[in-house]
Amino acid sequence: MIELTHVSKSYNRGKVKAVDDLTLTVKPGEIFGFLGPNGAGKTTTIKLVVGLLRPDAGKIVVEGFDVATDGLRAKQVTTYVPDYPAVYERLTGLEYLNFIGDVYGVPKAERLDRIGKWLEIFELAPVVTNPIQSYSHGMKQKIVLAAALLPAPRVMVLDEPLVGLDPRAAHQIKEMFREHCEAGKTLFFSTHIMEVAEKLCDRIGIIHKGKLVACGTMEELKRIDRTEAGQSLEGIFLELTDT
C-alpha cells in the first residue's frame, strides 16, 4: 500500500510547483496507472515515493513505513524502475542481479529460481555474462526490470516501464504486473500509453500541473464527462489536461 497525504514539492525555491497538495492511496493488490502530460509531476511524484526526492510538505507511507523517518524499511519492501535504464554498464547482467540480490538479502535458492525465470522471460539468458554495456536499450530496460522483480517486493514503482520494449517484452511485463497484483502486492506506474492504462489498471490517476485532477476506476472516470469523447481514456485525458 502507498499513501500520499497532502504532499507538495517545488523547485527553484518554490517558484516551480511540481507536485501540489497531492493526496492519493494505492491499495494492496491494485495496479495504479499514473497519467499526465509532460512536466505534470508524474516523475517527481514517483521519485518522492521511492525517496529520491524529499517533499516540502506532506507525508508518504509505504506498507506502513513513513518514507521520511523509516526510509530504510520502506526501501526494503519497494523496488523502483526509472524512466531511463541507467545501470552499472561495466558489470555483467548477472553481477548486477547478484548485487541487487545481496543488498535486498534474497536467499540463494529463491535467487536462483527467480533469476532463471526472469532471464528466460526477458530472453536475457544467453547474454547474462556479458557486460551491460553491450546490451541494447531494450535489454538494459529488461535487466533493470529483472532486478526490480528479483526481491519479489511488496511494492513496485515504475516510471514509464514500457518505453523501449518490443511488443513481446511489453506483453510479458503486463502479464507480470497482473501476476504481481494477484499476489496481493501493489504496483504504481506512470505511462503515456492510454490503451495500456485503460486495459491494465484497476485505478487511474491523472495529474496536471502538479495537482491530481482525476482519480478512480475507468468506470468512475467515464462519469466525469458523459459525452462520447468522455467515454475513452484519451478523451478524458485531453479534456482534463487542456489548459
Partner: protein, 577 residues
C-alpha cells in the same frame, strides 16, 4: 574566403562554443548559481582556496628570482624560461593523453555529434579546442610565473610580452597534436579488437611511458655534464652562453623555439623562432585534421559496442555464479572495485596514479643524479638521506611518511567516490542499505587504493633510497593513519556536492572540482601537522615523543573524521536530489 568556407567556419565555431559550454558546465553553473541559487557557498570557498595558494606562488616567484640571479651572470638565464616552458609542455603531454582519449572517444556528447552534418575533422577540431583551453588552465601555474618573473626581472620590452602571449596560446598545440595523432592511430586499431578496454589501458600506459622517457631524456640532457662530471666541467658548461638551453632544446626542439621567440622579442631571432613555432603548430594541427578525417570515425564508431559472446549458462554454472548472499557491505565494496578497475579512465586517473607518483619520484631522483643511475648505486639521494638521518632521524621518518602519504592520497579515488556513480546514483539512493554502510564500503575501497600508494612509495623508499626498517616502520604507520584522515576528508568533500551529471567519465575524476578541493584540504592538514611538529620540537621533546604525539594526534583525528563521514553520509544521502 568563399561563402562555403565562412559557413564552415561558423559551423565549427558553433560546435566549439557548444563544446566549451558543455565541458565547463557554464550553463549549468549559471543556472545553479543565479536561478536555483544553489552552490553559492562554493564561491567564497573557491575564493579562499585561491587565496590559500598565494603564499605558495609567492615562494615560487622568490625561487625563480633567486635562480634567475644565479644564472644571469653565467649567461644562462634563458634556460630558466626553457625549463618553465618545457615543464608546461611535458605536463600537457602527460595530461593530454588522458584528456584526448576521454574527449575524443568516451565523451557521451559524441552520440549527438556524430549524426549531425559535421565532418569528422570538425568534430575532432571542436574537441581539440576544448582540450587546448583546458590545458591553458593546467599549465598556467607552471609557465606563467616563470615567464612573468623573468620578463619583469629582465625589464623586457613589448616584443617579449607580445611573443610570450602568442607562445602561450600556441604552447599546447604541438604536444597535443602529437598525442592526438598517436591516440587516433592507436584507437583505429584498438577498435577492431574485442579487448578494447584492456588495449586502451595498455596503449595509454605506453604513451605515458614514452612521455616519461622524453622527460627523462630532457632531464639527462640538461643535467648530465658528461661522465665523471666534476665541479670544473659543470662550471665550464655554464660559462658557455645558452649551452643549457641548447642541451634542453636538443631533446624537444619546440621548447627552444618558444624560449628564443619570447626572449628574442621583435628581433630577427625572436620573430624567426616565433614563426617556426607557429608554423610547426599549424602544420601539425593541419596534419591532425587530415588524419582525423580519415581515421577518427573509424576508431570511434562502435567503440562502445562490446560484442559479448552469446552463451547460455547451464544450471550448474548458474548455481555456481549466483551469489549465496553476501553482506551488503561486501557487495558494495565489490561493485566499487569492479567499476573502478574496469573503466579505463577511472583506473588511469585513480588507482594507477598511486603507482605513477612514486615512479615520477624515481625519475626525478635519477635526473637529479645526473643520469648516472646514482639513486640505484648509492648516489645523491641516498647520500643526502643518510646525511639527514645522522643529523636528524625525526626528519627522515616524517619526510618519508609525508612522501608515502602524498603518494597514497593524491589519486582522487576518495574525492570522486560518489561523483563516479554519476547517473547510476539512483541505485545507491533506493537500495535498502543504510548510507553509513554504503559510505563505509566506499571508504574501504578508497583506503585500499591509498594503501597501494603507500606500499609503492615504501618500495621506492627501500629500493631507491635504502631506507632502513627502523625508519620505514614508523613512516608507514604514520602514513597509514594519515591515510584514514585524508580519505575520510576527501569523501566528505565529494559527498557535500557530488558531481553526478557528467557525460564524460573524465569529468567525474580528473575535472572534478571536489578532487581539487580535497587536494587543498590535504595540503592544509599536512601544513597544520608540520606546524604542530615544529611546536613539539621547539618544546624540546625527544624524537620518540614527537612521533608518539603525532601518531596519537593523527589517530584521534582519523577516528573522528571516519565517524564524521558516517554521520554525514546518513544526513547527506537523502538530501541529494
Amino acid at each position: 574566403m568563399s561563402a562555403r568556407g565562412v559557413g564552415g567556419l561558423r559551423k565549427l565555431g558553433s560546435v566549439v562554443r557548444a563544446g566549451l559550454r558543455s565541458n565547463f558546465g557554464l550553463a549549468t553553473l549559471k543556472h545553479r548559481l543565479l536561478r536555483e541559487k544553489k552552490d553559492r557557498w562554493l564561491v567564497p570557498l573557491v575564493g579562499a582556496a585561491g587565496l590559500g595558494v598565494v603564499p605558495m606562488f609567492y615562494g615560487i616567484i622568490l625561487l625563480i628570482e633567486n635562480v634567475y640571479l644565479v644564472l644571469k651572470p653565467m649567461g644562462q638565464e634563458r634556460a630558466l624560461l626553457s625549463f618553465g616552458i618545457l615543464a608546461g609542455q611535458i605536463l600537457i603531454l602527460l595530461f593530454g593523453i588522458y584528456y584526448v582519449i576521454a574527449a575524443f572517444y568516451f565523451s557521451r556528447d559524441l552520440e549527438f555529434l556524430i549524426p549531425l552534418p559535421l565532418r569528422p575533422a570538425e568534430v575532432m577540431a571542436s574537441k581539440f579546442a576544448v582540450i587546448v583551453i583546458n590545458e591553458y588552465l593546467t599549465v598556467a601555474a607552471v609557465v606563467l610565473p616563470v615567464v612573468i618573473t623573468v620578463g619583469v626581472l629582465a625589464h623586457a620590452g613589448i616584443g617579449y610580452w607580445v611573443n610570450a602571449t602568442l607562445v602561450y596560446l600556441a604552447l599546447p598545440v604541438i604536444p597535443l597534436a602529437v598525442v592526438s595523432l598517436a591516440v587516433v592511430a592507436m584507437m583505429r586499431f584498438i577498435n577492431i579488437s574485442r579487448k578494447k578496454d584492456a588495449l586502451i589501458l595498455v596503449g595509454s600506459l605506453v604513451l605515458i611511458g614514452l612521455s616519461f622517457a622524453l622527460q627523462l631524456g630532457i632531464g639527462r640532457s640538461a643535467g648530465n655534464g658528461g661522465p665523471g662530471a666534476s665541479a670544473q666541467s659543470v662550471a665550464a658548461f655554464f660559462t658557455s652562453p645558452d649551452s643549457l638551453l641548447n642541451k634542453v632544446g636538443a631533446v624537444f626542439p619546440p621548447g627552444i623555439w618558444a624560449t628564443k621567440a619570447i626572449a628574442g622579442g621583435f628581433s630577427g631571432e625572436g620573430l624567426a623562432n616565433l614563426a617556426l613555432l607557429l608554423g610547426v603548430s599549424l602544420a601539425l594541427f593541419a596534419g591532425m585534421v587530415v588524419v582525423a578525417e580519415k581515421l577518427f570515425y573509424r576508431g570511434l564508431v562502435g567503440l562502445t559496442e562490446t560484442t559479448g559472446k552469446k552463451r547460455r549458462l547451464t544450471r550448474d554454472e548458474m548455481s555456481r555464479r549466483v551469489s549465496s548472499g553476501r553482506r551488503a557491505f561486501a557487495a558494495i565494496f565489490e561493485r566499487e572495485w569492479k567499476i573502478m578497475n574496469r573503466t579505463p579512465i577511472f583506473l588511469l586517473n585513480g588507482v594507477l596514479v598511486s603507482v605513477f607518483v612514486p615512479a615520477i619520484f624515481v625519475l626525478m631522483a635519477t635526473i637529479n643524479a645526473g643520469g648516472r643511475g646514482a639513486a640505484g648505486r648509492g648516489g645523491d639521494p641516498m647520500v643526502l638521506l643518510k646525511a639527514m638521518a645522522s643529523a636528524n632521524p625525526l626528519v627522515v621518518v616524517l619526510g618519508a611518511a609525508l612522501f608515502m602519504t602524498i603518494c597514497g592520497s593524491i589519486n582522487g579515488t576518495a574525492s570522486s567516490t560518489f561523483s563516479r556513480e554519476g547517473a547510476q546514483f539512483w541505485i545507491s539512493r533506493t537500495i535498502p542499505v543504510a548510507p553509513r554502510e554504503q559510505a563505509a564500503a566506499k571508504f574501504l575501497h578508497s583506503y585500499l587504493v591509498a594503501t597501494l600508494g603507500v606500499v609503492t612509495a615504501s618500495v621506492v623508499a627501500v629500493v631507491f633510497l635504502h631506507l632502513s626498517a627502523a625508519f620505514l616502520a614508523p613512516a608507514v604507520l604514520l602514513s597509514l593513519v594519515a591515510g584514514v584522515l585524508l580519505t575520510a576528508v576527501g569523501m566528505m568533500i565529494d559527498l557535500a556536492r557530488p558531481l553526478l551529471d557528467w557525460t564524460n567519465p573524465q569529468k567525474a575524476i580528473k575535472q572534478n572540482l571536489n578532487v581539487l578541493l580535497a587536494l587543498f584540504a590535504d595540503v592544509g592538514i599536512l601544513t597544520a601537522v608540520f606546524f604542530g611538529v615544529k611546536a613539539l620540537i621547539k618544546a624540546k621533546l625527544t624524537t620518540g615523543a614527537v612521533l608518539g604525539v603525532v601518531a596519537a594526534g593523527l589517530a584521534a583525528l582519523a577516528a573522528a573524521s571516519y565517524a564524521a563521514l558516517l554521520r554525514f553520509a546518513d544526513k547527506r544521502y537523502p538530501a541529494i536530489e
